[in-house]
Symmetry: C2
Subunit: 689 residues, 2 copies
């Protein structure tokens, strides 16, 4: 409905002018940098191609979805998931096209586990016959599957699962049973309302001998189980299954619960590529090499880091654009009281929150890419039976998953607060991003817990290095030996972190080995209990991960293969130093204790950081542009690439808000809510409580 607001414009300078000027005065080669960041698999071309398809379908419009209830968000999510699959059929999308379409849709898909963990498990854990039977049905979307491992009372400790699969030699069936409430499967995505099949992980109970009534527990094993009727989609008798209810984020996902009441499944339900039960003798044969599992875990974690860097880039894109446009207060030292207000991003207190995160997105990028490359190489070795690199890869990936998802999760909220009031509004584009991403510090290995794996590995290698027998088992042990011979010396000089990037990298490494050694002494020499060291071990892991991030960033800039142009390389070096100094400043004492950096240099860090931020500031807009996050994905009035911040905020409020279509009765003596409707609306709401 037209009204007098239609002709109003924001005060000048407007966002489009401001962004144009920001872009004009920077020499960042956006095209080159974008290509540098996304060199593989035609990522940018694919993004544009899929974007074009989704942008035309009103089902993928995000404009008003924040007004839907949670049950409606699941329904919308299911409708979108179906449509994406139909579009994939129609356009002949390959696997990468499909994951691009899900990335741009930005809704977690109710089919998610059906596409990932479910078929992966069938492929890896199923034997040839099982794969041949199940995979075509899965690919056709006839079998819709999920993966049910975690239980109400049991998460990280898989050995503590309570759900049982007991072999009945008489009927030649397994009996799935949940003996307690805490044995209920819980959190399992796609299970709640969508799946008709599930991989169920249960304790395998076998008679101690063929005729025995005594059972032995062989630990958790995967079973493939039909859980709902293929026509009516109702749960089968003996199964209680449903959605666990609203969560922080992931509204379109039906995370589920499931209990079994002596539910019988055939012998063929047990996935038997590695473990088998002989149905006649009840004998059990073991996995050939469980390490393979770690291999794919590493691939998952590399992709988690690559995802984390896109999440950070997305948050920082919005924050940089908005704080460039937003004006607030004149310069306090300027005597001209008619001077224009300053761009918020000109304040060091805003820069210190946003620009180190911009640098961090790059740091994560180079390490994610390095891990993907390393995994690809290692995968080939694993396939040849060489598992020598698996342990270090697994150890590194644990610590990195922990640190990188922590950094990314925190970055969203840091950017949001840096944007002041509008950061709290729906136009920020942060609400769903934040609520969804906050799951990441917990899933795929709790961030605090998995640092133990990295630290444990490092302590073992340091122990071997101290023992110093034969040649080093791997490169990490070699670095421990080198550190012990050359750097583990109270008289060693600190490194020159401001004169040499190599020494800056070395400082991180020296500090990490120093912390490793201290942990080794506590555990192996002083024999302290493991649990009493947990806080220290997390620090060891983070220090190592920071060292890896700094190292890979430095290597990438000096890699002759990628060879960025001199202009680009200069900007990347500034970002590299900002990341390194900022990370160092936050944990400065460690670096002194390790004789890695002098106290005087550490005192200079805050000033150096501020200088680097001042260097990056004029290029911030083009640096975030280079990540090429489309407006469709940002879904943010504040972060629009065209700078129309205020126009869009007002449009969303004035024209897209369904609440404004209703006139309410504000007088407290009446229980009428909607003006003129009596108590009808109140009754409707009460019925939902």
């Amino acid at each position: 409905m037209p009204d007098f607001t239609d002709n109003l414009k924001p005060a000048s300078p407007g966002g489009p002018e401001i962004l144009a000027e920001e872009r004009r005065q920077s020499d960042v080669p956006v095209g080159e940098l974008a290509q540098h960041l996304f060199p593989h698999h035609d990522f940018l071309g694919r993004q544009q191609r899929i974007l074009h398809v989704l942008g035309q379908d009103p089902l993928f419009s995000k404009a008003k979805q924040m007004n839907l209830s949670r049950p409606e968000r699941y329904q919308l999510g299911l409708a979108r998931a179906k449509m994406l699959r139909r579009l994939a059929d129609q356009h002949g999308w390959d696997a990468e096209d499909q994951s691009m379409s899900q990335y741009l849709c930005d809704d977690v898909s109710p089919y998610m586990v059906h596409y990932t963990m479910f078929p992966t498990t069938v492929r890896e854990q199923g034997d040839e016959k099982q794969r041949a039977y199940w995979m075509p049905k899965i690919q056709a979307g006839e079998v819709v599957g999920c993966y049910a491992q975690t239980e109400l009372g049991h998460g990280s400790n898989v050995r503590g699962l309570e759900c049982q699969a007991r072999w009945d030699p008489k009927t030649q069936e397994f009996e799935l049973h949940s003996p307690t409430l805490t044995a209920s499967k819980w959190w399992n995505g796609t299970l709640g309302r969508t799946a008709n099949h599930a991989i169920v992980v249960a304790q395998l109970l076998l008679p101690k001998s063929p005729g025995s009534t005594e059972y032995a527990n062989h630990g958790p094993h995967p079973f493939i189980v039909q859980i709902r009727d293929m026509k009516t989609h109702k749960p089968l008798t003996g199964i209680a299954v449903g959605d666990i209810g609203p969560k922080y984020g992931y509204a379109p996902m039906d995370n589920g619960y499931m209990l079994f009441d002596h539910f019988r499944i055939p012998h063929s339900a047990m996935l038997s590529n590695y473990s088998r039960v002989d149905p006649n003798t009840c004998t059990y044969s073991r996995p050939a090499n469980p390490a393979v599992v770690y291999g794919s875990l590493t691939a998952v974690r590399a992709s988690i880091i690559m995802h984390a860097r896109l999440v950070m880039a997305r948050a920082v894109t919005i924050a940089v654009r908005y704080t460039s446009i937003r004006r607030q207060f004149q310069d306090r030292d300027n005597n001209d009281k008619s001077a224009p207000e300053l761009s918020v991003l000109d304040y060091p207190t805003v820069q210190i929150r946003i620009l180190p995160l911009l640098a961090t997105a790059f740091a994560l990028h180079y390490t994610g890419a390095a891990m993907q490359a390393l995994y690809a190489n290692t995968r080939a070795q694993i396939d040849k039976g060489d598992f020598s690199k698996l342990a270090v890869l697994h150890a590194q990936s644990s610590g990195l998953k922990s640190l990188c998802t922590e950094l990314a999760a925190n970055s969203i909220e840091t950017c949001r607060r840096a944007m002041g009031g509008h950061g709290f509004g729906g136009g920020s584009g942060f609400i769903q991003l934040n609520n969804d991403y906050l799951s990441k510090p917990t899933v795929e290995g709790d961030n605090w817990m998995i640092t133990q794996q990295t630290a444990s590995y490092l302590i073992k290698r340091m122990s071997s290095a101290v023992a110093n027998k034969g040649k080093s088992q791997d490169e990490v042990e070699q670095t421990c030996r080198d550190w012990l011979s050359n750097e583990h010396n109270s008289n060693i000089s600190p490194l020159s972190i401001f004169d040499s990037d190599e020494q800056l990298v070395q400082a991180f490494h020296r500090r990490s080995r120093d912390l490793t050694y201290r942990a080794y002494v506590e555990r192996e020499v002083k024999k302290r209990s493991w649990n009493s060291l947990l806080i220290q071990l997390r620090k060891v892991s983070h220090a190592e991960s920071q060292s890896i991030l700094v190292t890979n960033f430095h290597i990438a800039l000096n890699d002759s293969k990628s060879s960025p142009s001199p202009a680009l390389k200069g900007h990347l070096q500034t970002l590299f130093r900002l990341f390194a100094y900022y990370t160092m400043d936050a944990e400065a004492r460690d670096f002194v204790k390790a004789n890695a950096v002098s106290d005087e240099d550490l005192d200079m860090l805050p000033g150096k950081i501020q200088e680097l931020m001042a260097q990056i500031r004029p290029h911030a807009v083009k640096l975030v542009d280079s990540w090429m996050i489309p407006d469709f994905l940002l879904d943010s009035a504040l972060g629009r690439s065209d700078g129309k911040v205020y126009e869009d905020l007002f449009h969303r409020a004035h024209r897209l808000n369904p609440l404004n279509e209703i006139t309410f009765n504000p007088y407290y003596k009446s229980d009428e809510i909607v003006m003129g409707q009596g108590s009808d609306e109140l009754k409707k709401i009460m019925a939902k409580l």
Copy 2:
């Protein structure tokens, strides 16, 4: 519907047993501590009394409200607000009863601004005649009001507001006008759908002389304006007003926008207790003493701190109870593989996240209480015309608001992550708490910005102390002089923080003065620009606020008036030290630089912190019990006082989740969403997009 799950129980030991044992083995005197924390205005009795009323009314049931859409949440919020007001009439609730009822209801009320800022402004800024006219209508709920200051393009910088009130001497009216889109009022609570009146803050434009067509801007002033029809509740002509749409939190609140198109209001609309315009001469008379405004700001900030400590206590209550009950992994050093899993709270990596926050809730409590007392004293002096303490009170309250809301906001997410997977679920009781509270670091003075006020004040006092003329203006200046004479000396010995709580407190003070002095040197001696110092100034402010928190905590424990029993005092001292050591450890280098603590002592801090946490661990459940946060408010399966964590999580999922009442069609080739309903549901959802 009864099913086989009805008879299932969680694996033992169950939550109730565990909590009973936790409570049995601790000597914390819960009743005494609760009385110690809530000694005034019968807080606990009132809580119980109001709880009883709300608990009986199904309108206040929180069980399923997370499934409502945002428009429904506003409707529910309005219905609850009306009911609370009717209950207040019915039961004769006083102001504190009413705010207790809102606290327990836990929904921000659409009437919120009508109860707070709106009448406060009329009372303080209105003249006698205006008060007499408006206050009875406001109290009767006939006039429903809000406070419209912030604009789309202008927040903290009030002088930058664009909305204009131009005096027309001919018609003797003001013309309210929004010249741009950025002049739109924005964020103003209660404005969007509820209010029929608003205090509008606009630039007062007066003719330079009675007949002149040139206008002078006299800055922002408040006007009381009818904005909607009293019968139809439709906006008056010349006003565009509405709700700004979904936000992170505050779903039941109609934060609004409003634009004026040459909208005319009478002379009497300008609130004229301090500023007046003579309608005949167009002359303007100025405020008597603008400092009074700061006075009430201090009161608001004291209450923000008291609220922050309840928010932290609430988060910590849930986290402590759940992590006591939750079991995960056996002790790695225990060779008995059948040993039970450990309570999660026994891990130092869980303790380090939760227990310092428990200590912090107490720290905030004592400082909030001290500020309230100080404000009450100062208020009496202000009323007598003595403004001498106002500056220090204002400066302290700015820094404390910043630090305390930051600590509280971060504490929610820290506790949530410490709870692992279930922390992400709706049963955590954290979702609404978090989403609502995240506004606090921004509102009532942006947390980063207002630290300038504290630092600016401290630098001024340090400048005067260095000048050393006459006697000190106030006690802060005196402490600067004392520090300059006694502690500003590179040879001074560090303090004995482990042997003496007095010296521990002194260490915080010495470090704060050291940072103040360094900032003074940069600004006043080296003449650095203000903006280049902002990061350092924030540090100055936080250091001073930490010093205040530690000081007030220490004073409260040694105050002869409150005199806790020896058992209680011992626990409080442990919490005091944990708070102090933990805070110090996070910023250890400052303390070395200030010669406040020796490097060796700082090295020992992590070990000392771990010891203190081990001392607190057995008492954690009873320490959180003492905050007496009712289950009704917690609304948390994880934090229930009876420990029935898993029973409640399952109940919410299996019996209260509306999504489980619908059977879906999971097959992608069909666009049917609800099984058997064709494409109807899809159409309904599409209509809402």
